[in-house]
């Protein structure tokens, strides 16, 4: 258990160093696979309940089997797996970016309810992932890869609107459970996002001929959807 915790801490440290490196240089990596791998690793880290949900459960005393059993993701809090698979890469990144931006706001509102260290750690992770999302979006926008505009899995449906922030009940017990559900949904969502990102890697392996690296130097004009996050590349915008 301690060894796992140590591994997680080390992984988190590595990711943070990567982020710091990028922030320090202010440049995005132009290597698609490297960037994709980072996104996958960050998603894997953030899907781990020990980073946020478990500390919350411990702090609030929700560790009984009954309460843990009722701490399930509530539909509608985060985009479903089906939705994510049907999004194009650009739309996926946009949805991921928006959802995490909203989650970041929620975290700020939950300062009194969450362990401080876990909350700060989660914020750092989300900001790091946001930077890489930005870089990946920039990379995809500059490429002529037709897959960039295609969904990972074929299917109908436009880009869904971001889910609204949940309204927390006044009843403290219900609030505790609701936050628990919300955090559970966050980890599940990150797990789904990681699976989609792995799907990108697999498809990329099958369709090597569509190189995303072509046209990488073209500047993209897009808005930065992360509220409160400093943009790494001011001239870049997420594709719309």
């Amino acid at each position: 258990m301690r060894a796992q915790s140590m591994q997680r801490t080390l992984l988190s440290l590595v990711l943070r160093l990567l982020l710091l490196c990028m922030v320090a240089t202010g440049k995005c990596s132009g290597k698609y696979h490297e960037l994709l791998l980072q996104l996958q690793r960050q998603a894997d880290l953030m899907q781990n309940p020990s980073t946020l949900l478990d500390p919350y459960i411990h702090l609030q005393g929700l560790h009984s089997p009954v309460l843990k059993g009722s701490c399930m993701e509530r539909p509608g809090d985060f985009p479903s797996e089906d939705t994510l698979w049907r999004l194009s890469r650009q739309d996926f990144l946009r949805t991921l970016n928006t959802t995490l931006g909203l989650f970041l706001r929620m975290l700020s509102a939950l300062q009194q309810d969450l362990p401080k260290a876990a909350q700060q750690q989660a914020e750092m992770n989300i900001r790091g992932l946001g930077n890489n999302i930005h870089c990946m979006a920039q990379l995809l926008h500059g490429s002529s890869d037709p897959e960039a505009a295609e969904p990972t899995q074929p299917g109908p449906g436009p880009t869904p609107p971001p889910p609204p922030l949940p309204t927390l009940p006044l009843d403290t017990f219900k609030r505790k459970l609701r936050i628990c559900e919300f955090l559970q949904g966050y980890h599940r969502f990150m797990r789904r996002a990681g699976q989609v990102l792995r799907g990108w890697g697999e498809r990329r392996g099958r369709n090597r001929r569509h190189s995303p690296l072509r046209g990488l130097q073209r500047a993209a004009r897009r808005t930065w959807p992360f509220p409160g996050l400093r943009r790494l590349a001011p001239q870049g915008q997420l594709p719309r």
Binding site: L59, Q60, G61, L62, H63, S64, P65, V66, L67, S70, D113, D171, T172, F173, K174, K176, L177
Partner: protein, 929 residues
């Protein structure tokens, strides 16, 4: 009388409205019943709030009344509480009263009614209750939704140790609902068809985020959070002080945290000024001193939370609570070897009031000087009587001089005094070795103690003064930290002076004298016993003019290099105890006691040797058994060093075990070993005896023996028995015979080997060459000079022996010619008669004799053999070539005259020539008939 009283009451009651009427508007008297009773519910506080008025109260004055209140739960008839509420009622006053329910109000419908009675002293008794008001209903369930399950009370704040009642309302009566406090299943009491209550006794604080109580039916669990607060403690150690007479600070110990964020609050009141301030910290509060020179303050600290209010008070005199700020800029100046001046500054207080400062001087962590100085702004003090080259710490703190309350915080500064010349001469001793008659002196000195060095010792000066040649001085400089040096002298007398030098100068000199001739070393060595304190020893002075004594010894065991130690003793001392942390039990230490003469010459007085504590020998000698006989053997352990043992060896024990379990021999005693085996033991009480003869043993027996030394502490280990087997009685005799025999045989074999050529010559002489025979020379010279060898054809046999094989007939000398196949030539050389035949006569005689002998010796069974002469060549006519198959010579004959050939091998078949081979060689001149 009673009747009179009733009349009076009736009269007063009748008079009451009358008086009202008289004062304002007279009206008809009405009963004083509570009116307009309304109930509201405060869920947070679980309170029923009652509000009512009293009609028909016409007095302008207040009237004291009692209200009796009844509260029912679920049904009006189920009264759960009855109580009185007394108050003074005014006209048109709306009255309020609250009742806190243990059961959350949402879980049950409550009914309330009341009645009243005048309880005013002005109204004479007896007094009567009014009629009950109608039941008023309080139903909090109306506000609930349509959820199947509700748990109450929500977010209740309770104090640790209190009891709490929690209830749930289930809309679905079929549900099997379980409730848990945290994760512990809790059992409740059913109050109604749909209501259950749970009484939690003596709740305790679990966490700041509250204790969870929840129930689960079919769906999502419903629950409540109980916020349990720890009991607010009374602030302890409440005190106030000022640092500058401009503001003051009150501090206290708040005790344990109540566990709830933001609670409790602390407020500081000052009663003289009437001011108060809300404290920003839970253990400290700041208060600004007003300009009106208020000296006395009456402070009250109030700690308050939801449940309790605690307060403590003190009366504080500002002047009596001055705690100055720590001084600053503490520095040494003018630091010499023994003096230093310390300077510092202080923060001014009030109107430049004086401060009492305390300057402390610390050496090695202890306060060695302490001085009090009155200071207004700058402090200064001269520290004296300091040690040279010593690190000190000076520290200072100050207090308000007008009234001591508390020292300020300390500030400190380290400084080191300057060096001075060493104070004492080094302690010097010498070890003198005479090499080739010349003394080689090794000088040892002990490092000076830090108190005496007064600085870092840089080197030692050694001045060698030859007393026989006063002008001869030799100076050696030995750099520190060396503590010895070696000086080679000649056979004069010397004085050696040693001084230690630091950067300032030398120490006083230490002097030792050395004679050029060896002193008396033949001093008997005495034994001493060590104690816990060391080695006590005493000696007898030899000279009355001794200036002192020195005891020297080596700190380590004898087998290690000697770390020479010595102890100087005064001239009147005749005994001392030598102690050292290096002394170990079981190690022999040798001490030498010297007497120091007035000329600083050392004379050996006594030698002592001893152990701090004797131990049993750690190992046994290596014993060699020898001289082994059938009845005895000798044990020897001559190489066992008795000097280097763990105690004085007092003797040896010889243990003997025999397989046969014999009785112990004379001198031995029977003993039982630690392993319960029995053996015989012999005690050798002479430590110098290192051989022992084991006698009276049985032949061909196995014995085990062990030799172990013993000291006063015990004997050596008994785990190294060795075996020896005695031989039988005759083996030595056999050895005495067999060994010489083997030796003789070997000698003979060697002699034979060395004389082999001689033997060969004797026993196997070379076969004579017939062509070189002297017989030929005789023939040549007498008859025919051309004849070289006798031809068979030239011979006329005159005797042939025929052997009749089948019949085994008797061999006869018939004189007939021989058969071509079975012929025999009989001449045979005589045994062991070397040398050529000297004459034909001799030859013939010899041949005849041998022939006859041969006939007589041939056994009957061998008569079928052919006898072939080997003297003649088988190849007739080939006189020049040697015989192709020379026969082997027989033992002890010059040549072999005949050889036996089996019939089967007698090939080739006899030819004419070959038949000649059987011809007897005869002298041509003399035929044998």
């Amino acid at each position: 009388m009673a009747f009179f009283a009733i009349l009076q009451t009736t009269f007063l009651l009748a008079l009451l409205p009358l008086r009202t009427y008289q004062s304002e508007v007279l009206s008809e008297p009405l009963p004083l019943t509570p009116e307009s009773l309304s109930i509201s519910i405060n869920s947070t506080k679980q309170c029923l709030h009652l509000q009512w008025t009293v009609h028909n109260l016409d007095y302008h004055q207040e009237l004291k009344m009692v209200f009796q209140i009844e509260i029912s739960r679920f049904k009006a008839s189920e009264v759960i509480w009855t109580g009185n509420y007394s108050t003074t009622v005014m006209q048109n006053q709306v009255l309020h009263w609250s009742w806190e329910s243990e059961l959350p109000l949402e879980c049950a419908i409550h009914f309330v009614r009341m009645r009243t009675m005048v309880d005013d002293a002005r109204i004479p008794v007896p007094r009567f209750w009014s009629n009950w008001s109608s039941w008023e209903k309080a139903d909090a369930q109306n506000s609930l939704g349509d959820h199947p399950l509700y748990v109450f009370p929500k977010d209740k704040l309770v104090e640790e140790g209190s009891d709490v009642t929690i209830c749930y309302i289930s809309r679905n009566h079929q549900d099997n609902i379980s409730c848990y406090l945290e994760d512990v299943l809790t059992h409740g009491k059913q109050l109604d068809q749909s209501v259950w209550a749970f009484e939690l006794k003596n709740v305790s604080f679990l966490r700041k985020t509250g204790t969870n109580f929840y129930c689960q039916g079919q769906g999502v669990p419903e629950g409540v959070v109980l916020y349990v607060s720890k009991v607010l403690e009374e602030p302890k150690d409440f005190s106030c002080e000022t640092r500058d007479l401009k503001s003051l600070t009150c501090t206290w110990d708040p005790g344990d945290d109540t566990g709830l964020i933001g609670l409790p609050s602390y407020t500081l009141f000052e009663s003289f000024s009437g001011k108060k301030t809300l404290c920003k910290h839970r253990n400290r509060c700041d208060w600004q001193v007003t300009q009106d020179s208020q000296e006395m303050y009456n402070f009250t600290l109030v700690a308050e939370n939801y449940f309790r209010k605690r307060s403590v008070s003190i009366l504080f005199n500002l002047i009596h609570g001055v705690h100055p700020v720590a001084p600053y800029n503490l520095f040494p100046k003018n630091v010499s070897a023994t003096n230093a001046t310390m300077t510092w500054k202080v923060h001014s207080i009030g109107n430049n009031s004086a401060l009492l400062c305390q300057l402390q001087l610390l050496g090695e962590g202890k306060v060695i000087q302490q001085h009090n100085i009155s200071v207004r702004v700058n402090g200064e003090y001269l520290l004296s009587e300091l040690e040279p080259d010593t690190e000190y710490m000076a520290r200072v703190h100050c207090a308000y001089a007008d009234h001591f309350w508390k020292w300020s915080e300390l500030i400190s500064q380290n400084f080191t005094t300057a060096e001075a010349a060493p104070l004492e001469a080094p302690d010097v001793w010498r070890d003198v070795m005479f090499v080739s008659g010349h003394p080689t002196v090794t000088l040892f000195w002990k490092p000076l103690s830090k108190v005496h060095t007064h600085g870092k010792i840089l080197f030692y000066n050694v001045v060698v003064e030859n007393l026989d040649e006063p002008s001869s001085l030799e100076v050696l400089s030995v750099p520190a930290p060396a503590n010895s040096t070696k000086v080679t002298l000649n056979q004069s007398s010397y004085q050696i002076h040693v001084t230690a030098h630091n950067s300032v100068g030398p120490s006083p000199a230490s002097t030792v004298a050395v004679s050029g001739h060896p002193g008396n070393e033949n001093v008997e060595e005495g034994r001493i016993n060590g104690t816990e304190d060391g080695f006590p020893m005493s000696w007898k002075p030899q000279s009355r003019n001794a200036t002192g004594y020195v005891v020297e010894w080596c700190d380590g065991p004898q087998n290690l290099p000697c770390v020479l130690q010595w102890k100087n003793l005064g001239p009147t001392t005749t005994g001392t105890v030598i102690s050292s942390g290096a002394f170990r039990p079981g190690v022999r230490y040798n001490f030498r006691i010297y007497e120091i003469s007035t000329k600083r010459m050392a004379h050996l007085l006594e030698k002592k040797t001893g152990y701090l504590e004797e131990l049993a020998p750690s190992y046994n000698p290596h014993v060699v058994p020898n001289n082994l006989t059938s009845h005895s053997f000798t044990l020897s352990w001559k190489d066992y060093p008795t000097e280097s043992q763990t105690g004085f060896i007092q003797g040896y024990y010889v243990y003997l075990k025999s397989k046969a379990g014999e009785k112990c021999h004379r001198g031995f005693e029977k003993t039982v070993l630690p392993d319960n085996s029995v053996c015989c033991k012999y005690t050798i009480d002479n430590p110098d005896q290192k051989t022992f003869v084991m006698k009276d043993l049985q032949p061909e027996s196995v014995y085990e023996f062990l030799v172990t030394p013993y000291t006063s502490a015990g004997e050596g280990p008994l785990d190294d028995f060795r075996k020896v087997t005695t031989p039988d009685e005759y083996s030595h005799i056999l050895i005495n015979i067999i060994l010489p025999m083997i030796f003789c045989v070997l000698l003979i074999m060697i002699a034979c080997y060395l004389k082999s050529q001689w033997l060969k010559d004797k026993c196997y002489p070379d076969i004579p060459d017939p062509y070189k025979s002297s017989v030929l020379s005789l023939i040549k010279s007498k008859e025919n000079p051309h004849i070289t060898i006798m031809n068979v054809n030239d011979c006329v046999p005159d005797a042939i022996e025929v052997v009749n094989k089948p019949e085994g007939s008797k061999i006869q000398f018939t004189g007939t010619r021989k058969s071509p196949t079975e012929t025999k030539v009989t001449p045979q050389a005589p045994d062991c008669q070397p040398g050529p035949l000297t004459s034909p006569e001799n030859l013939l005689k010899t041949l005849e004799q041998n022939y006859m002998n041969s006939l007589g010796e041939i056994p009957a069974g061998e008569a079928n053999l052919n006898y072939v002469s080997q003297l003649a060549s088988p190849m007739s006519g080939d006189k020049e070539s040697p015989p192709t198959n020379p026969p082997e010579p027989a033992f002890c004959s010059e040549y072999k005259m005949q050889m036996a050939i089996p019939l089967g091998l007698a090939s080739p078949p006899p030819s004419e020539n070959s038949s000649l081979s059987s011809t007897t060689l005869l002298d041509p001149g003399e035929h044998y008939h």
